[in-house]
Subunit: 430 residues, 2 copies
Amino acid sequence: MDQDTKTRILGAVDAGFDDQIGFLSELTAHPSTRGNEQSAQTFMVEQLVARDYTVDRWQIDVNEISALPGFSPVLGPYEDAVNVVGAHTSRTQKGRSLILNGHIDVVPEGPLDMWDSPPYDPRVDDGWMYGRGAGDMKAGLASNLFALDALGRLGLAPAADVFYQSVVEEECTGNGALACLARGYKADAALIPEPFAEKLVTAQIGVIWFQVHLKGLPTHVAYAGSGANAIEASIPLIAALHDMESRWNAPENRPADYAHMDHTLNLNIGKIEGGDWTSSVPAWCVFDVRMAIFPGQSIEAAKADIEAVLMEAARQNDFLKNSLPEIVYHGFQAEGYALSQDGSVNAKAAIGALESAHGTVNGDALDKAAITATTDARFFGLYADTPALVYGPRAEAIHGFNERVDLESMRRVTQATALFIADWCGLEDI
Amino acid sequence: MDQDTKTRILGAVDAGFDDQIGFLSELTAHPSTRGNEQSAQTFMVEQLVARDYTVDRWQIDVNEISALPGFSPVLGPYEDAVNVVGAHTSRTQKGRSLILNGHIDVVPEGPLDMWDSPPYDPRVDDGWMYGRGAGDMKAGLASNLFALDALGRLGLAPAADVFYQSVVEEECTGNGALACLARGYKADAALIPEPFAEKLVTAQIGVIWFQVHLKGLPTHVAYAGSGANAIEASIPLIAALHDMESRWNAPENRPADYAHMDHTLNLNIGKIEGGDWTSSVPAWCVFDVRMAIFPGQSIEAAKADIEAVLMEAARQNDFLKNSLPEIVYHGFQAEGYALSQDGSVNAKAAIGALESAHGTVNGDALDKAAITATTDARFFGLYADTPALVYGPRAEAIHGFNERVDLESMRRVTQATALFIADWCGLEDI
């Protein structure tokens, strides 16, 4: 790609950037928590149709994916789980195909009084856009779309097929991305602009979700000694899980990508609910746990360890030993994935193309990072032989209050993405 | 009272006992948890009207009671809080007046799968009636009503005014009983057949309810180290509260009625709720606590101690010290009450009358007990100068699963109650 084309692409992103901010604001205004993504997906369909992409909108069918590797169990139906893909079909087919992936689902906003402004009423202040999902990862969805737009503004299109994906379920199972694979969407590389501060993600951890259900005999608190408090029974189990967390994080268990990090694998007690009356000894308690695993760590072995740890702790507890906890898997059973371990020509070429694009925009080398979260990249990398580049804008307080994304960072990522597409796919005239 | 009258009264209770079991079954079938007492109260009104009592049914007005001693704060409105009183007005007025009190509210039934049979589909098995509220305390409401019925069956009525009360809110505030006082219902003694196994309650503890609200900065669990887990932050606070519980129970703090009991004051974590997403570090957690106090222990001093304990524990916690807990009082602020400390002539006479009645039915002495729960007795004893006798049937698993009441015990209590009424109020012909 000649320097003039590069310069024109950068300028074309700039030319569309006000529109891009407007798009991001409108998309962020949709409160697309799990189960409520429909209006946001309808908006995405409208945007894709307006741009003449071939749009595929479908409801995920659990039966079609439940036997596939990477599937995570779900509680409840998928009647409201709708994926959207917009396809660009190249006229010349002379380049390498590409998946531009992003997730439309956002995590719950939490108590509104913790936000400085309403989470779904996005606002821009001092170069940041605030709102739930603005960073994780609607800015990425905007970046993917407006990178393609920038090429179009120059009368150009990718010289290979490009599939623009807006998927659900990234935040709890990844089954949205898996359903795209099952539907036949394949390409030579994938790009996922998750908000990791313009670094290329070289490794991501895996995640297991599980619920621990405690149940026992309640009683009037007047006889608390003869009852068993299911809420307090959770405390030694949580302590035992943290001991396991320390053990898993020990230096001898770390793969190379994480050798330098003391605490990669975080255990999180994300939810708890128990009891129904202040003066009744609670008969039940349920807590939800997220635990990470290293790339290469077996999910089945990890689950067996989790179960053994919980049961051993339960057997040491007077109440729990007679009323062992029930463990329910209700979301992520996600393996880790390390792009760094992909020695394929494709992977090297894709990384090289992104390094070049990033360098053109920023004038410096592409930083790389092993992250302590999971992304949908694992589906492409592990189950479709497709190198998946996670590279997106800087955001702060993702999953927190006053989540925000750096708009200039989004501009740079959009420019790098447009350059990457031009390089990877090649260009053809519209 | 001559022996013949006593014998006829015992027989009259027996004669009505099948009906009484039917009444108890029908009353227990009403799921009268807090806020849902209306159908049960309507049933009570029908029963009282059918017996020609003067019926007073009214909605509790918080404004009329909130300045009174013994009031407990409430969260939410009282639109659904309805008391029922049936009054018998004596023709001759030659005896001592009496309040027969019972509460219609029951505590939540908890998970249905923990019950051997549905909690609101009462069944009788081997002399026990099973069902939520059968023991606590619908058997007592039945006993009060059918004791009066037994006298009526003999063509007799109490020779003093008797107020039959079916109140709400016993299980959370006592404001139902307080509203009866505020409405002007007074008498020379009160009887409350709470299910304490045919023992006379000589002392009851006080109860304080409070919620502890924790709130902090959440984040994506990938950065758990920089977030603060509000659920786990509750653990050191619960531990500190248990230390306080031990301190309050120390021998030097026990009044005479409880000197022999090692652990009278129970702290109960009755409810907990926190977080909304497994992979978000939870920003908030709320747990509900019930703590008991001794008779004579000041509520204000107890609250000050609770607050100091929580704040000191919070200040030792890295997260909590920057985000101190909020303490919300949302129910019981109930003082303890000791009938044993009531040296009045009335109290002695009432206890004597009950001892005699119990002896006639059972042939043995009336056992007495200091209990580790509260009852509405405190309102009569502390704020209306009315000795309040708590004396009711044997029940098991109150506030638990498969709650049950011993029907023969209910029969004996009904007989003792009828004899007590006859003695205390005297008798007149209908």
